[in-house]
């Protein structure tokens, strides 16, 4: 496996593949004329408001949360598709927060993204061969066309599209959703990335196909020690496949820890409510659902103090004043499990 000089191999147990610290992403809201005349202060969307987490090589972290929680913006910030307002992002020890496009180019090889929509993430005019080949051409890892072909075939076989020549000349419209997603994954893998961001990789696929794709991602990350950040709103999927889960609410991580612990022993009231309303397969496995009132507030208007307190079933007076930080709750099983709540 070839390695770019830019990114060291992740054999050192202590080294993090990805280290995000106090990430802030704010989008300014354009004022309309009346607001500008009245000199009202600029509003902003606090999409990501102080997020910190890290990822080891070969680890899978699931970022879960509802719409508006900032998980997609976080992923886009990591990939440097959008500008970072504050905070730092380190990939394999290198600070990429403010690198220019030119400087980012070699690093882009090591970070890849898999998108939600398998029907849109492939150019309909490109055959599978060309779709998988494109990253190689962009990064000048071309070599001869035979070498490229070999890499393409290898990538397709890795995603279980085998034998590869059955697929290599197809157009996307000839493939099923699951097959298309595999092609998209192959195109990401051909550059041998260290970090993969998967944004709802299976939510648009049929249920009977999802497990195959997720298992594939799981197998690949174990084989190549690749770190995966999976963004999903499907808590059950996260519970099944991720090593760790980070629950996001309104731009912050409110709970974080080993997947089984976060699911079976949630500490934060939001996580508790979330876990209680996720439908379970077994009709006899009923928990009393804790249905919260209302919906997640707009990130323009983040509540003071703890941002969850308006909807929190156990909020106290102090929750309106103090903004809790992530810490290890008293009831947690170990240090890896943290929650941002004043009451735990």
């Amino acid at each position: 496996m070839s390695e770019a000089a830019v990114v060291p191999t992740g054999t050192d147990e202590g080294a993090f593949l990805l280290d995000v610290r106090d990430l802030v992403v704010h989008y300014p809201v354009r004022r309309d004329l009346t607001s500008a005349l009245r000199r009202e202060p600029h509003q902003r969307i606090s999409a990501v408001d102080g997020v910190s987490f890290s990822l080891r090589h070969g680890e899978m972290l699931a970022l879960i949360g509802e719409s508006g929680c900032g998980k997609t913006s976080t992923a886009q910030a990591i990939l440097r598709m959008i500008d970072v307002t504050a905070g730092t992002i380190e990939v394999a020890g290198r600070d990429i927060t403010h690198l220019t496009s030119q400087q980012l180019r070699p690093i882009r090889r090591t970070m890849q993204m898999v998108y939600q929509d398998p029907y849109e993430s492939l150019d309909p005019r490109f055959r599978v061969r060309r779709a998988v080949e494109e990253p190689l051409l962009i990064h000048g890892m071309a070599g001869s066309s035979d070498q490229r072909e070999a890499k393409i075939v290898e990538a397709l076989e890795r995603v279980e599209l085998s034998p590869a020549d059955l697929y290599i000349d197809r157009y996307p419209h000839e493939l099923s959703g699951g097959q298309r997603q595999r092609v998209a994954i192959a195109a990401s893998l051909v550059l041998e990335p260290r970090l993969l961001l998967a944004d709802e990789p299976v939510s648009m696929l049929d249920v009977s196909v999802r497990a195959g794709i997720l298992s594939l991602l799981d197998r690949i990350r174990r084989e190549s020690d690749m770190g995966i950040v999976m963004i999903t709103h499907d808590v059950s999927t996260a519970a099944h496949f991720a090593d760790r889960i980070a629950v996001m609410y309104l731009g912050r991580i409110v709970e974080e820890g080993p997947a089984r612990q976060v699911v079976n022993d949630p500490q934060h009231p939001y996580t508790k409510a979330l876990m209680s309303v996720v439908p379970k397969r077994d009709p006899r496995d009923r928990t009393e659902p804790q249905i919260l009132h209302g919906e997640t507030p707009n990130p323009i208007d983040v509540p003071r103090g703890c941002r969850f307190h308006p909807r929190c079933p156990v909020a106290e007076e102090r929750c309106k004043e103090t903004d809790p930080q992530l810490h290890v709750p008293t009831g947690a099983a170990n240090d890896a499990h943290r929650a941002a709540c004043l009451l735990v």
Binding site: L79, M81, L104, R105, R108, R109, Q112, M113, Y115, D117, E120, S121, L122, D123, R125, R127, E134, P135, I138, H139, V159, E160, L161, S162, L166, Y167, D169, R170, Y171, E174, L175, S176, G178, Q179, R182, A184, V209, A211, G212, S215, L216
Partner: protein
């Protein structure tokens, strides 16, 4: 038995061979009779334009018969106000209309396509500035401009081409711009960006191929407009000098062909203009139709679903192959 999903199994959508994609434009035209009709008409006119002067029975500029002679076996379409054979004029004049039409549409395609591409792709201030420029060009009346230019520079074919082309590009620019804007937002383009693809690569590999068919359709329609425009300008006396359909009409109008009952002096050129425009229009429309996703208007249809009385036969009787349903 637990298996991981083998990606290919029975009943998948894959056909035996990869499909030959072919040219979208060609595919669009196939199976649409109107497109075929348009194609035939345009091809015919192009043929006449190329070989007209060779095939014309008489001179298109010299008098070869009496003034306003009606159609006869010698002059199939009669003669005009100067005794020139109408049929010959028609054939030679067609060349002007075709050349101006195609050239002006080509100018519109290059300029409009280019501006639309840049505006749509760059967005932001560039887009705003280019659109303002487009707006200015949109409101310039071509006839007035033409009259001014002819007065200042004198009449010429090149000028006519430029004037028509430079006023036609605005429509193309807008159409291309909105198409480019929407392509730019497609996931696979964003993906290419996140991979680190350069703008050049994205424009030439992803955007342009998607825009090209629409550009072609728009350009074909622009030819129709250009032909009509040229004829209109000629009719008003500020067109391309020499033999052309518009000039034929202008002569017929000036020399009172109508009151004299010499319909052969203006009906043929008028019909020719109309046919050429229709031909281009049919072709362009067919391509455009093929590119637009089919609108789902089933719910607006007057027809409704039908009820089949009686119960349906079982899908497959025991042990036998099923005949296809009617």
């Amino acid at each position: 038995m637990k298996t991981t999903e083998p990606a290919l199994a029975e009943g998948t959508a894959l056909e035996a061979r990869p499909s030959a994609r072919g040219n979208v434009v060609v595919q669009a035209v196939k199976g649409r009779p109107s497109a075929l009709v348009g194609l035939v008409i345009v091809a015919f006119f192009v043929f006449v334009a190329v070989f007209g002067s060779v095939l014309a029975p008489y001179s298109a500029t010299q008098q070869t018969g009496p003034v306003y002679a009606p159609p006869s076996t010698e002059h199939w379409l009669g003669t005009d106000d100067s005794g020139v054979d109408v049929l010959s004029e028609l054939m030679v004049g067609g060349r002007t209309s075709m050349i101006v039409g195609f050239a002006a549409a080509f100018v519109a395609m290059i300029v409009g396509g280019g501006i639309g591409l840049i505006a749509g792709y760059a967005g932001g201030k560039t887009d705003g500035a280019l659109m303002r420029v487009t707006d200015y060009f949109l409101v310039i009346p071509d006839l007035v401009l033409m009259i001014v230019i002819v007065t200042v520079f004198g009449p010429s074919r090149l000028l006519v081409i430029l004037v028509i082309g430079l006023l036609l590009w605005t429509a193309t620019a807008r159409i291309v711009r909105s198409q480019v804007k929407s392509i730019r937002e497609r996931v696979y383009v964003r993906r290419a960006r996140s991979l680190g693809a350069s703008h050049r690569r994205i424009v030439f590999q992803h955007v342009l191929p998607q825009v090209a068919p629409l550009l072609i359709a728009t350009t074909v329609l622009a030819i129709a407009y250009a032909i009509f425009d040229e004829s209109a300008l000629a009719f008003l006396g500020v067109g391309v000098p020499g033999v052309s359909w518009g000039n034929m009409l202008e002569h017929a109008f000036e020399r009172t062909a109508m009151t004299q009952g010499a319909w052969w002096a203006f009906v043929p050129p008028g019909l020719a203009i109309g046919l050429a425009v229709i031909g281009c229009y049919l072709m362009g429309q067919a391509i455009e139709d093929a590119l637009n996703p089919r609108l789902r208007v089933a719910h607006l249809s007057i027809k409704s679903w039908r009820f089949r009385g009686g119960s349906a036969a079982p899908v497959a009787p025991e042990g036998s192959a099923q005949e296809p349903r009617p």
